[in-house]
Symmetry: C3
Subunit: 462 residues, 3 copies
């Protein structure tokens, strides 16, 4: 549905009045790019310009260039492709612009740069016109090159339904998807939208970078530096796979714990306060809002951990170690009997890890926008809370079974420091223990009541 | 696009009349949560209540509390946040509510609890009002905590376009996404929607749980109990990985066969009946409708099978077995020559499995809502039928090549029972054979004609 | 939200006038299928037919059959389920059809078969009617069987807002999702839509098939035929895994390079021309438009490469080779010392490959429609350009480290031909070198200016 039906134009008889003339104020980059695209789709374009002669050299050759007033009279839709600080001159055109559809395409340089949105400012300047906000999420470069994968969506808002409809039809004709965002009040948001750069991801990404750095250095110290200092062995190549494969699972488990920790804290807070109608502290609010992102970063670490683990038998070092072990067995003329306990432990933690990762990946798939949009609230809660805790339990058990046997062995505490996987167990174990306590009826019942609106001291909310 | 533009309110001059007062009838949990959210977004809120004094203690302190009639007069939009069984008193307010927009937010406890939807019932009670159904898919807890990942979508329906538009603008102002569902006739469906818990997944999940149970016990009997009884060997740790890795591929292949079986049955039925205009039996209809879910469960089993297979070289048991084999070779002073046939078989079934899984995963990706929405019917058919059968052929061949050499070896039939992978071949082989027969022109031609509307005995449809 | 609320009909009192009669012209396959579905959803259906008696034998028994004029009078919505070449007779019904909503459901056999769309042609034939295009993306078979996964979406367009709204409500009542595509000008596109079969995928798929063929034969020659000719060794089973696992990474890397090559060429072209307002050559335009598809094909090859690599330790041939190596070590009574350089190289290229694949998969996930719709242009650019080049660098480094040591060894050039992985490095290395040059300020600054609309010789664009 992307190609414009401009080829219709060549043959259909009433072509001239099929596509209405569009007027563009401003011959800057975006104005010209939009004009190119409009001409390509069969719309006559007229530019409004201060001096009617000078800018004609840069506008597309099929477009007319007139003075602002003349150009505005030729079209029902006028696209204001100039910067907000130059809007003032429009007040002098108020008479000509009466009843016209003014499309504000402007963007700012900073989020919430002005008290009111550019579109609302424009509506105040030219009260007789019907202002519609649109096209600001589309880049000139994308319009020009046709590579519109990202921003095929054009948010449209405006107070006049008819004007909005005209603009939405224009958007569709250019092969884009208009999204009605309601009245002009939404303009502020629409103007802020293209300025964002993953605002929800900032905290999870920086947190995990910091933690990764810490765990990496910790792991290098214990795995590379310690044997070098005490045994003069050079394991520097561990930095490529062995150490990342220690850090990744630790990060995955810790972050997964941090996804469920704020829910636990919120429950405790609500139990203490006896009401759900008091706001949480700001940091808890923010933490709760980026749980999805934290979980996805954790899933990324888990995926890398899986890959690092599965390439192990291909590694030159592992092959060398295996060969040496077998050769020395052969030279000693003995075959080992099967150690049933070891087989149990090895298979158990692998199986737990696989199942944990499987459910983790399932959670990840459910958080894809199109999937989470197609489930209702009850189903989403079921997946995220039931499946989420199952994942946490499986992954914690995976780590416990993997490292459990070394908990009480003093030699695993090099430099009196616990191995790295023990650190990763702190958060998830704490979460699971508190969650287990909260499931008891004596705590679960009041909590459920509070979440249904019951208040211990109703007068407090006054 | 999620943050509400409440910060606009602080500065824009005509703020007071920018956001219109919203009236809420009912001070229950949902009413209060909605009031909180509305106040947060800059809407003045007035509660309508039976006694105007009593409930003021629990409502947000910025909201006014008045009698029902007084409150209704203050606002154009009245949100009816009370339960259906208490709607009756609204008839006495008919005069005040004339022309007002009544928003029904109610939900029921059971699917299709009442003959008509709550919103239609409300419209019958207060004929002069303009009833709109909305907000019922949003939970109070989600509104309160801002964690609206799942149900950002608000289904809206109503007979009055203007009223619907007002409610949709309100929905957008709260940072939610309104979805126009047409006239009030859609209310029944919208009210049923939040009560569902994966209705399409129930049969596939229970079927696969039952089958998994059966195959698990079957596999334990042959792989653990049989060697214990006859050879006194304890392979109990096989329960962790070896047996799941036998059950998972068997389940995946069987379920994949069950995805394509109903299509085959439908074709046979249509050929016998000579028309496509007679309904299929109910069970076949239901089966056909949950094919996608069956396929996704099969893909889940296949994914777990892949992971279980890839960890094999890391397993302690496998390492022990390999070491022993090599050590005994070394002790016997001989090296084996390369067995070309074995290498061919091993590489073939691995390659077939990898390609089968790859196409299976591709099918899974195509069934993501956003992907399947962006392909047309012709493309969807191409992927699901051509690629689907290719997957089935590859996975069946993978199993046949894997186990083929043991088909005629009596020792593989322990307790006279066939190994588990042979069972998994029954359904897919049956499907492929019948499909192969149906491809012959003498059957394919009449079937195509029937599917294009041709009938063998037209009078039957009368 | 898929079940129709037909069960409401049984109980709600004012049922008769709740669902309005729908008239269908044409008793062909689609007409009958639609009638079935409409009746199922509680709509009375009346067929308009040439002879009012004859076709009654094939239409559903609950539907009435009348002459065209009589049938049209009974309903506000008339569905024109006949082929375009038979539209002519409608001109004689112009009087009866005045003000009626005519729904054009027709499709053509070829893209752009007629100069104007069928719906526009219909609107010209019956100027008094309100023509709406709809339902053409839904297949009769899908309507009948209820398996509507693919095409739940119904594109609707029309010049009359009220008529469009009525049709959209009808669409919703049938459990489908209407998508407003604007005015009747969009009909051409909507009619072309269901005729497409992955138009954007054709070039990437054929290109990769051709390249795969070439690399496969090249690899068979060097890996199977060469040792057979010179050493009489039969490695024919390499065709199953070893050779695909050489071809897949080579294809992945080459295609990934081809994704970024057109961007580089476009930049050079813009620098030479000194303007962004001149169109690129057609081949470059087309190439740029299918970069996403090229990238996804590359990702598919990379995924298969990962699976092929990870099954290596399970392969019978690899086990045999390992055993033999260890046994001969044991027989020679010696254990090898750890080769630190080899360990470094092996771990490095594995780690680079894992990270490269991880970022590649991330790019793939971001290109899912629902994910790319939820990011803005700035975020999309960040991911696709920054993350994309990171992936290219990692994957190129992976190949370089893997094969680097053999670059200067003459024995790796069998038949004077370079090993296959060297061929795969040509495109990505060329891209990275040119990109590195373009990053220098002396080239980056003018390029940025040009992309912001600056022109070196403005008069050229006249």
């Amino acid at each position: 549905m992307t190609k414009s039906s401009s080829n219709v134009m060549a043959l259909a008889p009433p072509a001239p009045n099929k596509r209405e003339t569009v007027c563009i104020f401003g011959t800057g980059d975006f104005g010209r790019a939009l004009a190119h695209k409009l001409l390509q789709c069969g719309y006559p374009v007229v530019f409004g310009s201060r001096g009617s002669q000078q800018p004609s050299s840069v506008v597309p050759k099929d477009a007319e260039v007139l003075s602002h007033a003349e150009a505005a009279q030729k079209a029902a839709i006028i696209i204001i492709a100039i910067q907000r600080q130059h809007y003032n001159f429009l007040t002098s055109l108020a008479e000509v612009l009466r009843g016209k559809v003014l499309v504000d395409v402007s963007n700012n340089l900073k989020i919430n740069q002005y008290p009111e949105s550019n579109a609302e400012y424009l509506a105040q300047l030219v009260p007789g016109a019907r202002v519609v906000k649109a096209f600001n999420t589309v880049s000139a470069w994308a319009l020009q090159s046709g590579t519109l994968d990202a921003s095929r969506q054009v948010f449209v808002c405006g107070d006049d339904t008819e004007a909005k409809k005209m603009v939405m039809d224009l958007v569709r004709a250019l092969g884009l998807t208009p999204l009605d965002q309601g009245s002009l009040l939404a303009a502020q948001e629409i103007e802020n939208y293209p300025l964002q750069l993953f605002p929800m991801w900032r905290f999870p990404v920086f947190l995990s970078l910091g933690l990764t750095m810490f765990f990496f250095i910790y792991s290098v110290a214990l795995t590379v530096i310690h044997p070098y200092v005490y045994q003069k062995k050079d394991f520097s190549f561990f930095i490529a796979i062995t150490i990342p494969n220690q850090v990744c699972p630790v990060m995955a488990l810790t972050l997964l714990g941090l996804v469920y920790l704020p829910g636990i804290l919120a429950a405790i807070l609500q139990l203490c306060r006896g009401t759900k109608y008091r706001r949480f502290p700001d940091w808890l609010d923010k933490w709760m809002l980026c749980r999805k992102q934290l979980g996805l970063v954790a899933l990324a670490f888990a995926s890398v951990h899986v890959l690092y683990t599965l390439v192990m038998p291909i590694r030159s070092f592992v092959n060398w170690r295996t060969s040496n072990r077998i050769v020395s067995q052969a030279l000693n003329n003995k075959t080992e009997p099967l150690d049933n306990t070891r087989a149990w432990i090895s298979d158990s933690y692998l199986a737990l890890g696989i199942l944990g990762f499987f459910f983790f990946a399932l959670l990840g798939i459910t958080s894809l926008p199109s999937v989470s949009n197609s489930v209702n609230w009850r189903e989403f809660r079921f997946v995220q809370s039931k499946l989420g805790y199952l994942t946490l339990v499986l992954c914690t058990a995976h780590t416990l079974v993997y490292g459990g046997k070394w908990f009480l062995v003093p030699s695993s505490y090099k430099w009196y420091l616990p191995p790295i996987y023990m650190l990763s167990l702190i958060v998830p174990c704490a979460v699971l223990v508190v969650k287990f306590v909260l499931v008891f009826p004596c705590l679960d019942k009041p909590l459920t009541q509070i979440r249904q609106g019951w208040e211990r001291n109703p007068q407090h909310s006054k």
